[in-house]
């Protein structure tokens, strides 16, 4: 017997899907922003900080990179709830995502910072720039430019990976789809629709990052090189 697809009843819930997709994007936006800041600070600490700080950051990076996001989220969100520390679920999820993506960003930014040649820093020193100025203008900008494609991949993966956080009760795209499944019983169709929406979001996100790259890296725009 042939299966009869019924997308009609699933698509009736389009507004819910859109609402969920929007939530996913909001979560990804804040986690990316804060995760980038955290990761960059950790990368700085790991490349130039005192020994104890380097070890601390190294430990954080290794622990997070070698355990699943889902376990981290359970540990953090259910754990905090168990000791009575209540917070809005959106906030908890963003924190879990930031802790997670911060560690990956640390490694990528560290590679970028270490790729800056000694001579660049010497030249800036000889021009009289302060340490902070050197870091900001001579190290950070070109380092970020160099690893930008890797960063983009990280953040797109983060957006996709955030789907598992529906398990802690956040109503992002995957979370709302559970509700649609339970009322329509059209599981397969729901997953097809989810796949299409996520794929579209991946493309949109890549496009946005591309445009952002053009905006903040004028050299990339001018020379059209992938660097």
């Amino acid at each position: 017997m042939a299966y009869e697809f019924d997308f009609q009843s699933v698509l009736a819930y389009a507004p819910m899907f859109l609402q969920g997709a929007w939530t996913t994007l909001i979560l990804t936006f804040w986690a990316t922003l804060a995760g980038f800041v955290l990761g960059t600070l950790c990368a700085v600490a790991r490349t130039g900080g005192p020994r104890w700080l380097r070890l601390l950051v190294g430990g954080y990076v290794e622990v997070i990179r070698n355990t699943p996001l889902l376990i981290q989220a359970y540990f953090l969100i259910f754990g905090l709830a168990s000791i009575g520390a209540r917070m809005p679920i959106m906030l908890g999820v963003v924190i879990a995502m930031v802790v997670n993506i911060g560690s990956y960003t640390t490694e990528v930014m560290r590679a970028g910072i270490e790729s800056i040649k000694r001579g660049q820093i010497e030249a800036a020193e000889c021009l009289g720039l302060s340490r902070a100025q050197i870091f900001l203008h001579v190290v950070l900008r070109p380092a970020m430019e160099r690893v930008y494609p890797s960063l983009v991949s990280l953040y797109v993966l983060l957006m996709l990976g955030s789907s598992v956080l529906s398990a802690v009760g956040v109503e992002e795209l995957f979370g709302v789809s559970n509700r649609v499944q339970s009322v329509t019983y059209r599981n397969f169709e729901v997953f097809i629709v989810l796949g299409v929406i996520y794929l579209a979001m991946t493309l949109v996100l890549r496009g946005v990052f591309w445009a952002l790259g053009q905006l903040i890296f004028p050299r990339r725009r001018r020379l059209g090189t992938a660097l």
């Binding site: 040649k117 001579g119 660049q120 010497e122 030249a123 800036a124 020193e125 000889c126 021009l127 009289g128 720039l129 302060s130 100025q133 203008h137 001579v138 900008r141 070109p142 430019e145 890296f217 050299r219 001018r222 020379l223």
Partner: protein, 242 residues
């Protein structure tokens, strides 16, 4: 005291390895001094010491009134007085020629964007690259990049310019355009110390030539010593360089 740079029995070592074993000489305001010698003779190290890219272990070193042998040297003031150009240009790849030049005036001398940009354009025309100001380093030839690097140092109006083998990475055609810029600077009265392999240039432009060997000054004098060396070692060196 009119000496802008003064070495007094200056010693420098890296760990157990002594690179400079007591160097004494001084450079007057407006002088152009060429330092020559084999690689490993300590000439580049001596130059780097003058901008405190290396710390010294013994003796005295005075540069533009700053005592570099002391720990309390004001690095920021020193580096406003001294400009240095490297063999590998070290331009900032993500900035245009003009932005490279304008960076220090903006950040260190706290000039406005417009002022810094004016300064940049002025020094870029001085090195003959006014029309390349919007180009990124990778769009420029080696010679052009080195001229931008010179302009970048000049933008801070240094009292002393140091040149560390600035033409060694360039082919002969591009070497000429860089040397011409340096010649013009010398003619304008800039005090310059250069480590170089360009004997011809040293002979034409330098007021004084310092031949270093094994961490010491082996022979020093006017440019004529390149034609009539007093020591067999310098004679030998000149023969091999040509």
């Amino acid at each position: 005291m009119s000496a802008l740079v003064k070495f007094v029995d200056m010693h420098k070592s890296f760990g157990d390895l002594e690179i400079l074993k007591g160097v004494t000489f001084s450079v007057e305001r407006g002088e152009v001094v060429a330092i020559i010698g084999q690689s490993g003779s300590g000439k580049s190290t001596a130059l780097r010491c003058m901008d405190r890219l290396e710390t010294i272990q013994g003796g005295e070193l005075w540069v533009c009134g700053h005592a570099l042998h002391r720990d309390d040297v004001d690095l920021k003031a020193l580096r406003r007085d001294v400009g240095i150009v490297f063999q590998s240009y070290n331009l900032f790849p993500h900035l245009t020629a003009e932005q490279n030049v304008a960076l220090a005036p903006r950040l260190v001398a706290s000039k406005s964007h417009a002022e810094a940009s004016d300064i940049a354009q002025a020094v870029l025309s001085k090195v003959g690259l006014a029309e390349k100001r919007a180009a990124y380093p990778e769009q420029l030839s080696g010679g052009q990049q080195q001229r931008v690097a010179i302009a970048r140092s000049l933008a801070m109006q240094p009292k002393l310019m140091l040149f560390d083998e600035v033409t060694s990475a360039l082919d002969p055609k591009l070497t000429g355009e860089v040397l011409r810029v340096m010649e013009r600077l010398a003619a304008d009265g800039m005090t310059m110390i250069l480590v170089t392999h360009e004997m011809q240039f040293a002979r034409n432009v330098a007021d004084r030539v310092v031949y270093m060997r094994d961490g010491r000054i082996h022979e020093m004098g006017g440019p004529e010593i390149l034609i009539k060396p007093q020591t067999p070692e310098l004679a030998d060196f000149i023969t091999h360089e040509q």
